[in-house]
Symmetry: C2
Subunit: 363 residues, 2 copies
């Protein structure tokens, strides 16, 4: 059985590593010379718009998936005309435009932050008349890891913000005074079977995820499952999905969803009975989904930029290092560390060690 993946970065790498354990083979399509998934897959170096390459991938693979949501929808649709691609292209197009995504949330009665549609500087100025500040201006497309977002503190910042996003179609979102950022990772298989992981509680810095902690029996678990179930059903979704949420004093607001395996689910590699990467493979191949049960306590720390000394990491008895074989560069995710431990006290001790270790070394 051969699985094709659009994209050859760390998510494709981890999907392939999990899938090899099940005996499957992988083909990645990625325009770069030696993406980090190339060493665990057959790699085609072609552009995502190269129709010949896309057809070749569709022909060789029994099923195709992708590791990032900015895959051109037309490319996904081209593949779909030859071979199954999961999640389906509609799940891609809904998340490639923040306005479409927010509208979908509203249709499904999933709470979100208030927002306004911004197509011009005039729209921003109109909002300024009776709007509340601070607010966040977000381009409708191509935003990730905090890119394409500008915080507007007062009407004085309007013009500069509009220039910063280069006048792209946008939405303006009310600033959410959240207590926690959480996410839920779920899966749905080709047979409609679903499963849900325990919530991840996430900490970001400069728009980039720093660490996630798995939360057993979280009071928000059932509402989060309810939200993501509505999405799974509506989109007739297949594969792993991640729904990012803000918890405020009295509400749970959906921020965005990612139609793919997700950074906030990396703790599942050692922390859950079946990791998100394996369940993604199981889901798209129509196999029974694996148990999502948490094993003890679990957390994940991103390694961004220059990593700490490898011996310092591996000396922590319950730390599990995952490096992506990428050259360190400021702001670049080059790996992560999972922490998994049955004992709560030891977990907290090693959590603090890792917080300090990753704080010192990242840039």
């Amino acid at each position: 059985m051969k699985v094709g993946i659009l994209g050859g970065g760390q998510l494709a790498r981890m999907i392939a590593l999990a899938g090899h354990e099940l005996g499957f083979q992988f083909i990645t399509l990625d325009p770069t010379m030696a993406p980090c998934a190339a060493s665990v897959s057959q790699h085609f170096m072609h552009d995502y718009n190269d129709t010949t390459a896309l057809k070749q991938l569709a022909e060789l693979a029994d099923v195709v998936t992708f590791e990032f949501e900015n895959v051109p929808a037309a490319s996904a649709e081209l593949i779909e005309s030859f071979t199954p691609i999961y999640p389906s292209p509609v799940a891609l197009t809904s998340t490639q435009d923040r306005l479409v995504e927010k509208t979908l949330f509203q249709e499904l009665d999933i709470s979100t932050a208030d927002f306004a549609v911004i197509n011009s500087l005039a729209d921003l100025q109109t909002y300024a008349c009776d709007g509340q500040w601070p607010a966040i201006l977000k381009t409708r497309s191509e935003g990730y890891d905090g890119k394409g977002q500008v915080i507007i503190k007062s009407p004085d910042d309007i013009e500069s913000a509009w220039h910063q996003i280069k006048g792209a179609p946008a939405i303006l979102e009310a600033f959410v005074p959240f207590e926690r950022e959480i996410s839920i990772i779920a899966a749905r298989s080709t047979h409609g079977e679903t499963c849900f992981y325990p919530l991840s509680e996430n900490s970001h810095e400069n728009g980039i995820l720093k660490f996630s902690i798995a939360r057993a029996n979280d009071p928000m678990q059932s509402l989060a499952e309810d939200y993501v179930s509505r999405l799974l059903d509506r989109l007739n979704y297949v594969g792993i999905i991640a729904l990012e949420l803000f918890q405020t004093k009295d509400a749970l607001l959906a921020n965005e969803y990612a139609p793919r395996v997700h950074n906030t689910g990396h703790w599942t590699m050692e922390g859950a009975e079946t990791c998100q990467f394996e369940n993604h493979i199981r889901a798209i191949l129509g196999l029974p989904l694996g148990s999502t049960a948490l094993i003890g306590h679990a957390a994940m720390f991103n390694l961004i930029g220059k990593p700490p000394e490898i011996t310092d990491i591996l000396s922590i008895s319950h730390a599990h290092l995952h490096l992506y074989d990428k050259e360190p560069r400021c702001g670049r995710k080059i790996g992560h560390i999972n922490l998994r431990c049955d004992d709560k006290l030891m977990f907290n001790e090693q959590l603090n060690l890792l917080l300090n270790l990753t704080k010192l070394s990242n840039c």
Copy 2:
């Protein structure tokens, strides 16, 4: 960092899969066309005696290891003259000859079954005068998975047994009325750091391992650790080692050791905090060794020949499937299933399910 591996079978495959998680790269040398490690490594198709290929491997790799003990000692020594190879060639040569191996055990005060050296039919006939039966005739070299072994029930079988092993140099071993077959997996790093996994209790059928169960706090753990420590020290050993033992009513007898990752240690993939494959990599690269603590209860079932339906396996909530991407063939190991569970009752329930499932389908 690049790791070279002599051999491209499932053990090399699992070493590479574990090592990719740490960000390392792998080169395998194997004379077959598409060994199952080829999809997760750069594969050189050359004979193990090809000095040009061996030199090339030594040049490209920062460190070399092997996945099977019948690597020609001269090849290992050739590599050693260019780049570090672990375990060292002396650990290979000691285990390639059963007589050398048994003698080493004796020198280290590690108990073994009684044995006699057999170089001719006359030696067998001499033994028959006052020897005990049944006894097992084993060729001194090239035996694995029960190959090169003949049980002699009475002196009448002597001639036929001698012909079966084609008159190869051999030893004749007293039949051990064992209560249990166990093994201990241990590691020693280039810095001399050691670690020991909980004992595996093993069941064989026709000389091939069927399943292993990890035993927490086994009464034999400390003596087994003592035995294997003597070996590690004497051989100045680096990497994972497996020592196979027979427990009789009142003794623990060493059978043989394998200078490599071992089938009876596969349960460590999900069942231990750090698996044997990762600890092998850590050991040969001089990194701190990982915790060997058992996580709940764990067992491993080999898949030999035609496997059960994949959906039947994956429907068992705590079963973890590992397929090696090998064509099923009668008697061929094509994968294994690990079982890991915190709850003892559920563990036993699923253990029985898997015993039945693997019993029905194997050949």
